[in-house]
Amino acid sequence: MSTIIFFLPFILIYTIFAVYGERKISAFIQDRYGPMEVGKYGWYQTVADLLKLIQKEDIVPKKASKKLFLIAPVIIFTSIFCGFVVLPITSSWEGTLTQNGVYFLLAIVSLDVVGILMAGWGANSKYSLLGALRSVAQIISYEIPVTLSVLCVIMISQSLNLQEISYQQGILINAFPDMENVKNYLFGISALNIDVTNWGGVFTWNIFRAPVLIPVFIIYFISTLAESNRAPFDLPEAESELVAGFHTEYSGFRWAIIMLSEYGMMLLVALLGVILFLGSWNTPLPNIGNIMLANWTTGEPETIAGNLWSVFWLLSKALMWIAVQMWVRWTYPRLRIDQLMSLSWKYLTPFAMFLIFVSGLWRLLMI
């Protein structure tokens, strides 16, 4: 529960900067300036937009099913926000429900489908309904590759506890209870007998501990793009065809909540991906001989320095991930619905299943 204290204000502030960042990134990719007028370099553009949104009238269509329509954005935001409660932030500040962390996250995030269906059906508009149907079909289909790829990581790390997964990926591995004697080997192959436990840095990240996770990582990245309705998988919104998909009829503050939850979802999948694959709150700098970069940039758990370093590494990795998501969004055109489905069912899911098998074998190598 305690991590909510950190994440609730963080999501709000992050969204303001993320919207600004997205505008700027898209502008630079398309050889434009982006917002330039409000404040220096348009810094306050998002704040101005937010103020405008809050002032706008909260319109409910006359023929809409009022209860469903009004409650839907709340459900969407709540379900995504609930996902944050299990995430660890620092080496000594972990989320709640630790035993089932990842599992809970996957479950609760799938709830936003309910909100989307409510919004789509409640609005009583064909654009909303079509957008909601597309969105739900997409999210449900892509939940499978996401779950399978997360399962690969769980098989390698043998835990549903996100904090334990985090500890495994750094020099502090032996500080976690029940892992006092665990060692990290190079590429996870114990037969090589190269002990990298004290190297730390990237050598103990999951994608290095078990290189089988690199393709898994790619699958995870692609399918979480679809999960968060980002381009090139933004058919549910499809501005050119469906106006705005399931949130066509929303205005003002409720629309802002839906937008907030979209950006929140981006942050959530980025944080989860960082924790699962990219070393969580561990530093990327390894110890090289006597230059103890990893020790210097990690700090002891339960100390101020340790907490600050952890937060810094976790959030900077996650924000980099989001920047890549935006980069991808402004590069690729939108997929067609059949291409979307075939990508999920014909390509990602079989590969993920095969990779689960390989991860199992790799885990045997790691013992």
Partner: protein
Amino acid sequence: MNWMTTIFYFFGAITVLSALGILFTRNVLHATFLLMLSFFSVAGIYVLGNASFIGVTQLLIYVGGILILMVFGLMLTTKLNGKALVTENHNRLIGVLLGTVFFSILSYIIIFSANFEMLKSNKTLPENAVEFIGINLMSNYLIPFEIAAILLLVALIGAAVISEKRKEKQE
């Protein structure tokens, strides 16, 4: 009454009230979403009963899976014409009578007659339920586990075959 009990009563009230809502509402869509609420609070009850793994599974499969399927089924089996989807009741007398009788008999037994003395010994539950369940599924309960897997596969194929578009025989 400590806070655990309070939360339990809260979840229990939501569960039962939303279930009653399903019974009384005539709008099919509202019934589906009320069922979601009911399942959600049932998951809360599971977590309070030291079964957080099952609680999360409940969320994942029931709320995230089956309910969405229900809503899809609803969309596929109704004509959308802008009106609210309403359903009618039948066998009202028999149904309510049966339900009430069933409920009252069982609750009478539970409250007044049943004796759960054997369960009162305070045994400690396994520390890590997930690990325990996992190991047990792969050892003591391996055959049910495999049968469940086959059942799921059969259901998958069966559902695909049933709902497949068949050509009319006349053609």
